[in-house]
């Protein structure tokens, strides 16, 4: 394992290091500013890194990934508004601790736990991904179909509160992914007579439309309402921010939260947001002092910040080993991978091991760079909170246009982006989750190809998917997990209604997007 990482470092050239640094800074700023996110930074970066080598491009992306996930805690603690949804519960104890006059302690604890959480996730990634890919390489189209179906089913159920709506958007994503030339027959389909769609819908403008456009406008509007930077207190961090005794006390909480983050990160479709919520809830329920949570308790910062960063490594495991994105960010990475001519999946390790090891090295180095910037460049990051978003967002939009045009050197990609932006906006409005569309769009074409190849091999015998043990196991898992999670969702919904009835107010659905 260590030899692989060392060889990964050997593949990085000076420009890769520079781009990794730039990516970490951009990721931190985008993670720190409420309304922006690492996903937005990545959608900007993908088209702008066409001209560099794949390793240099992924150095940028990995910097953004780690920085974007870590930056959210700064605004969560200092102004009580999470920079990204994955720092949602950090507000519960981080902000009260800052209000009690200990912002340095809150920030120090959060930054250090984010760093350790990232390292924990990466070590798991380095240890698990390659052996898993060696198993997955033996999968044929029959097993791959069942595996992809299982991944999409998990996303549909886990990413929202409504199973039916989850499946609808996942299927819509798959349908959109099928527009253009059919891979098996080479026949154009679902193009509505638009010749430029014969080559299919480019992933980058579609992802930009789905992830970025709606969020940009809503963030600009929300900015006017509640972000108040005048509340920021003196945030100087002394040492690491916490005492040795506190570190000792919080060690079990850290380990538990890291495992939660890793486990949730591995599951397709969900990542930092869910792990952050689950880790906080588990930490509170298992604590000897649950009454302290929400009052500025250190355990309430350790749990969410460890878990959300551990989920980075977790999300990268199915992405690199199986070609299945673990969350929204890795779904975007899949687009980046394709643009640079790689095919995601188990063959990636076999055919491009140097590239994968370079990604490992970038993740590790990205975590170190991020923690250093957070400790040393905190004043600059805090200043970024004061950028007026009604000016920043339209300028970002202009840059996004540049990115979309550069995908195929044509304005048509901007129309695709706008179309997907409208889809995203309308579906969000009617309480649909966007993550399943993205996963469906990215995985749908493979799902169809594997299904058709499987049927060709078996001479149109549908039962072959149940006769192969691995395939059958994934189909059973799909059915069992759907039923189990459906019941779980109904139970949670009932609990939420009871809470809402007690509190005398409506409960809004929390969306993972």
């Amino acid at each position: 394992m260590f030899n692989s990482i060392i060889s990964g470092f050997a593949n990085l050239d000076p420009l890769s290091y520079l781009l990794l640094l730039a990516g970490s800074v951009v990721g931190l700023v985008f993670g720190c500013v409420p309304g922006l996110s690492g996903s937005i930074a990545l959608t900007l970066a993908i088209p702008l890194t066409f001209t560099v080598t794949p390793i240099q491009a992924f150095a940028t992306y990995m910097g953004i990934f780690v920085g974007g996930c870590s930056g959210g805690l700064i605004s969560a603690i200092l102004i009580g508004v999470p920079g990204t949804a994955s720092s949602l519960t950090t507000v519960f104890d981080g902000f009260p601790m800052a209000q009690k006059g200990q912002p340095g302690k809150a920030l120090g604890t959060g930054i250090f736990c984010s760093f350790l959480g990232s390292l924990f996730g990466f070590l798991a990634l380095f240890a698990i991904a390659e052996p898993l890919s060696r198993i997955a390489i033996k999968f044929g189209p029959i097993e791959l179909f069942s595996l992809t179906l299982f991944a999409i089913s998990l996303v549909s159920v886990l990413s929202g509160d409504d199973l039916v709506k989850g499946w609808i958007v996942a299927l819509i994503g798959i349908l959109l992914g099928m527009v253009g030339m059919s891979v098996v027959d080479g026949m154009p389909r679902m193009t509505l007579g638009i010749g430029r769609l014969n080559s299919g819908i480019s992933a980058t403008p579609a992802m930009v439309g789905l992830f970025v456009i709606g969020s940009l406008f809503s963030a600009s509007l929300a900015d006017k309402g509640y972000v108040d930077t005048s509340k920021i207190m003196d945030y100087k961090i002394h040492g690491l921010g916490f005492t040795k005794q506190e570190a000792k006390q919080q060690a079990p909480n850290f380990l538990r939260s890291a495992l939660i983050g890793l486990g949730i990160g591995i599951l397709p479709g969900i990542g930092g947001v869910t792990s952050n919520l689950v880790a906080y809830t588990v930490a509170k329920t298992t604590s000897k002092h649950p009454e302290l949570f929400g009052t500025g308790y250190i355990g309430g910062i350790v749990a969410p910040e460890t878990a959300n960063n551990a989920s980075i490594g977790g999300a990268m495991i199915p992405f690199l080993a199986l070609g299945i994105p673990g969350d929204g960010f890795t779904a975007l990475l899949l687009g980046g991978l394709t643009l640079h001519g790689f095919i995601a999946g188990p063959m990636l390790f076999n055919e491009n091991a140097d590239f994968v090891y370079a990604i490992f090295a970038c993740l590790l180095l990205g975590a170190i760079i991020t923690v250093l910037i957070e400790y040393l460049g905190l004043p600059l990051l805090v200043k970024s909170l004061k950028i007026p978003k009604h000016i920043l967002m339209p300028i970002i939009m202009v840059m996004i246009m540049v990115g979309c045009i550069s995908v195929n050197n044509r304005i048509f990609e901007c129309w695709i982006m706008l179309f997907f932006g409208i889809i995203s906006y309308v579906f969000r409005k009617y309480k649909y989750s966007i993550t399943p569309i993205v996963l469906g769009f990215m995985l749908g074409p493979d799902l169809e190809v594997d299904l058709r190849r499987g049927l060709m091999i078996s001479k149109n015998n549908v039962w072959v998917f149940f006769q192969k043990p691995i395939s059958c196991a994934f189909i059973i898992l799909t059915i069992v997990s759907t039923i189990f999670l459906l019941r779980q969702n109904k139970r949670n919904e009932r609990k939420l209604r009871e809470h809402a009835a007690k509190a005398g107010r409506n409960v809004e659905n929390v969306d993972d997007d």
Binding site: V184, I391, I405, Y430
Partner: protein, 182 residues
């Protein structure tokens, strides 16, 4: 009348009717997707051709969409009285001008984006960006005064020219030039 238009522009509906709108949206999407597959030619001997899977998935979306609509009908029947009370209470609330702005801004922003893309080819990237930014910034700041528009115009010129210089000249990307050549 004015209020009705604001609701239409913001796609706003009562929370209780979200399932109805969401379900119908899925049904419409399924129908469009199914119709789009009809013209697909196939030379395959296999049972599953290029349009089989899209048609099956469209059909499933169609059924699931209707299931949401049916769920809405059932729920509505159960909680009819409660909704009437909520609607009546909401109707009496005063209308905040800023709220109206926030509601219609996303739709107007999408129209501005469409205009931006439409203008890009004839007048070039830089000029279309200047027009877009000059209109979008005041809209998002909910302030359409002359002073804000002038400020936005200055920012628009600076941002558009810098973006063009950076990406077209710096990175060598091909951006639409239009009649003016940049």
């Amino acid at each position: 009348m004015k209020k009705k238009w604001e609701k239409i522009l913001s796609l706003e509906i009562k929370p209780a009717d979200i399932d109805l709108a969401g379900g119908l949206l899925a049904v419409v999407f399924a129908v469009v997707a199914f119709v789009a597959t009809l013209g697909t030619k196939s030379f395959s001997n296999s049972v599953i051709g290029p349009k089989t899977v899209p048609q099956i998935f469209s059909a499933i979306v169609f059924v699931l969409g209707w299931s949401i609509v049916i769920r809405w009908v059932v729920k509505r029947g159960k909680a009819k009285n409660v909704h009437v009370d909520q609607i009546e209470t909401k109707g009496d609330q005063p209308i905040d001008q800023k709220m109206i702005f926030q509601k219609i801004t996303p739709l107007v922003s999408f129209l501005l984006l469409a205009l931006y893309i439409f203008l890009m080819k004839p007048i070039g990237f830089t000029f279309s960006s200047i027009i877009y930014l000059t209109l979008q910034i005041p809209l998002l700041s909910a302030d359409l005064s002359g002073k804000t528009i002038l400020k936005a115009f200055k920012i628009a010129i600076l941002a558009s020219v810098c973006t063009y210089l950076l990406f077209a000249l710096g990175f060598g990307l091909k951006l639409p030039k239009g009649i003016m050549g940049f």
